[in-house]
């Protein structure tokens, strides 16, 4: 049923264009900038990968549901959008290369008295639905990708509030301590970005886990997999990944500390 798989790399090479799917709603990883073009960490990485393949890049922004349903039928060739490789997902998609690790962290309102993660036990904690953050709160998270550091579940019995994205959860947290939420689990960069934009929030404790994030391609084209793996390896080796990470996060997330 995978009509195009196997020929994806050939197609990229012959047409000299690559279609890369990513999210438009996930700053600073990927978003629409002031020039109304795609921009962000993931987007820069995608551009670099395309450059090294010698192809023009074209971005496509379908919903997460649609991407993770698999079976892309050549509508796009690759997804560079901070997807966490899990075993179950690997049955539908393949993850040739992890390109960075983001820390997940917990935010509370600036006026909150909570100073430790355990302070959120049994409290109302918001996050995005279907995310690893939600799984973490449910104590269901298993990260089985190579190179990912181990972690503990540090918040127990939280009353989980799942939103379409964790950005709406941050909007709710912003209303005041305990007004709708006591805390939000999201990625550290997103939280910091919000704080920078004037949200009255603060980060509690250190990152709760590091999430490996990978380039994703459709199943069945092993040549493409190898090609992507080698490109990402070379980007890490020559420091380009670190440079891009520093550009967007001020920190190097390309390798685990």
């Amino acid at each position: 049923n995978t009509a195009y798989a196997g020929g994806v790399l050939d197609k990229i090479m012959s047409t000299k264009t690559i279609k890369i799917a990513t999210d438009a709603n996930w700053p600073p990883q990927s978003f629409i900038n002031d020039q109304n073009e795609m921009d962000g960490f993931d987007v820069d990485v995608a551009r670099e990968i395309a450059k090294r393949m010698g192809a023009e890049v074209e971005f496509i922004t379908p919903n997460w549901d649609v991407i993770t349903a698999g079976n892309w039928y050549g509508r796009w060739d690759m997804h560079v959008g901070s997807m966490t490789p899990t075993k179950q997902r690997a049955e539908i998609l393949s993850f040739p290369a992890v390109y960075y690790y983001t820390p997940a962290a917990v935010a509370v309102h600036a006026s909150s008295g909570i100073a430790q993660l355990s302070g959120l036990n049994g409290k109302k904690v918001g996050t995005g639905t279907g995310t690893t953050f939600e799984l973490y709160l449910q104590h269901d998270l298993i990260i089985d990708a190579e190179g990912a550091p181990a972690f503990d579940f540090q918040i127990d019995n939280a009353e989980i509030r799942s939103y379409e994205t964790s950005v709406i959860a941050l909007d709710d947290l912003r209303l005041g301590d305990g007004v709708r939420l006591d805390g939000v689990v999201s990625s550290l960069p997103t939280i910091l970005e919000a704080i920078e934009n004037g949200y009255p929030l603060k980060v509690v404790g250190s990152p709760i886990f590091y999430e490996p994030l990978a380039v994703t391609v459709d199943l069945g084209d092993s040549e493409l997999n190898e090609k992507v793996a080698s490109i990402v390896a070379s980007m890490r080796a020559d420091g380009v990944l670190s440079t891009i990470s520093k550009k967007w996060y001020g920190v190097d997330y390309a390798t685990v500390k």
Binding site: D65, T68, A69, G70, Q88, R89, E91, I92, G126, T129, G130, L135, D140, R161, S162, Y163, E164, I168, D171, L175, V179, R180
Partner: protein
């Protein structure tokens, strides 16, 4: 539409038409190449790997399909009873759709494990949010309709502003505005009430027009007859006009309720666990989206059909009463 008393000969009784039909179907199948699709795979035992059977496989599959289809149509056309005929076409279409879903390689195991939760949590939430909202919306609509027909400048202006504004804005925007906006002026409301307010206001605006049409459709003679007896406005409205316009109001209101069942899924953006939210969420962890989406679709469809049934019952009751 008035049926004519002379019926044309059934096309399926004319050999020429059947030949044409067969040819058309065959050509269609040849062009769209069923051997690549699921049907081709079903015929695999007979023809070998679809990819390899080539033009021959393509032709054989298409031919068999076309024969099957025409025979099937002929068989159905022989059923003398209209109802039975309709039912058998329905069943066939249903099977066709289900086999289309089947082609997604669904994990029925997974569906079974989740369906109970979807029904109890999802359908329950969807139904109660929609039901409360439609009741409130109806009240708003009655007031709105009267205001829009009134000669009072205030009433007209407020009602027309209301309908224009709330029909003009996307429901999602209204949900956001109420959920995120109200706290700005000092009142924090929960997700479910916010959703109900947004749905009621939005549908109240649409239904204002329905009620207005219903009230206007009542013959002027009813107003004159009542006024000539000395009835006051509110009495005429309550006892004479509204009871008579119910049969006209119910069908579009039923439509609105069906639409609302689905629009209520928008409250999921603010974290209410209704059916659609569950459909998009439950499958996430294990990547069983399609299973959940299709299950939810079937559940929605079933709800719709039940509602349509109830609606037609109510309609028939009223029609009977008024035209004995």
């Amino acid at each position: 539409m008035i049926q004519d008393t002379v019926t044309e000969d059934l096309l399926l009784r004319q050999p020429k038409f059947i030949a044409y039909l067969f040819a058309t179907v065959l050509v269609c199948f040849l062009i769209f190449d069923p051997s690549q699709s699921i049907i081709g795979h079903l015929l695999e035992p007979a023809l070998g790997e679809p990819d390899k059977s080539g033009l021959y496989g393509r032709f054989v599959t298409s031919f068999m399909l076309a024969v099957l289809m025409v025979l099937n149509l002929l068989a159905i056309s022989l059923i003398p009873n209209f109802r039975l005929q309709v039912i058998s076409v329905w069943i066939e279409l249903l099977i066709l759709f289900l086999s289309f879903f089947y082609s997604f390689d669904l994990s029925f195991e997974f569906i079974r494990s989740k369906i109970w939760f979807m029904v109890t949590q999802g359908i329950f939430t969807t139904l109660y949010v929609s039901a409360i909202s439609i009741v409130i919306a109806s009240f708003i609509a009655i007031i709105g309709a009267v205001a829009k027909m009134s000669s009072n400048g205030f009433a007209y202006a407020i009602a027309s502003f209301y309908t224009s504004f709330f029909r003009g804005l996307p429901l999602l925007m209204q949900v956001y505005l109420i959920y995120l906006g109200f706290p700005q002026i000092g009142y924090v409301i929960d997700a479910v009430p916010a959703g109900i307010i947004a749905l009621s206001l939005c549908y109240g605006a649409y239904m204002t027009e329905i009620f207005r049409a219903g009230i206007m459709s009542i013959d002027a003679g009813q107003w004159e007859g009542s006024r000539a007896l000395g009835f006051k406005f509110s009495l005429i409205m309550r006892k004479i006009i509204l009871p008579q316009s119910i049969p006209l109001i119910i069908p579009p209101t039923g439509n609105q309720f069906i639409a609302m069942l689905k629009d209520s899924s928008l409250v999921s953006v603010i974290g209410v666990w209704e059916l659609m939210f569950l459909a998009r969420t439950l499958g996430n962890k294990t990547f069983n989206h399609m299973e959940m989406l299709i299950t939810a679709a079937m559940l929605y469809w079933m709800m719709t059909m039940v509602l349509e049934l109830i609606q037609s019952r109510i309609e028939r009751k009223y029609q009977k009463r008024q035209s004995r």
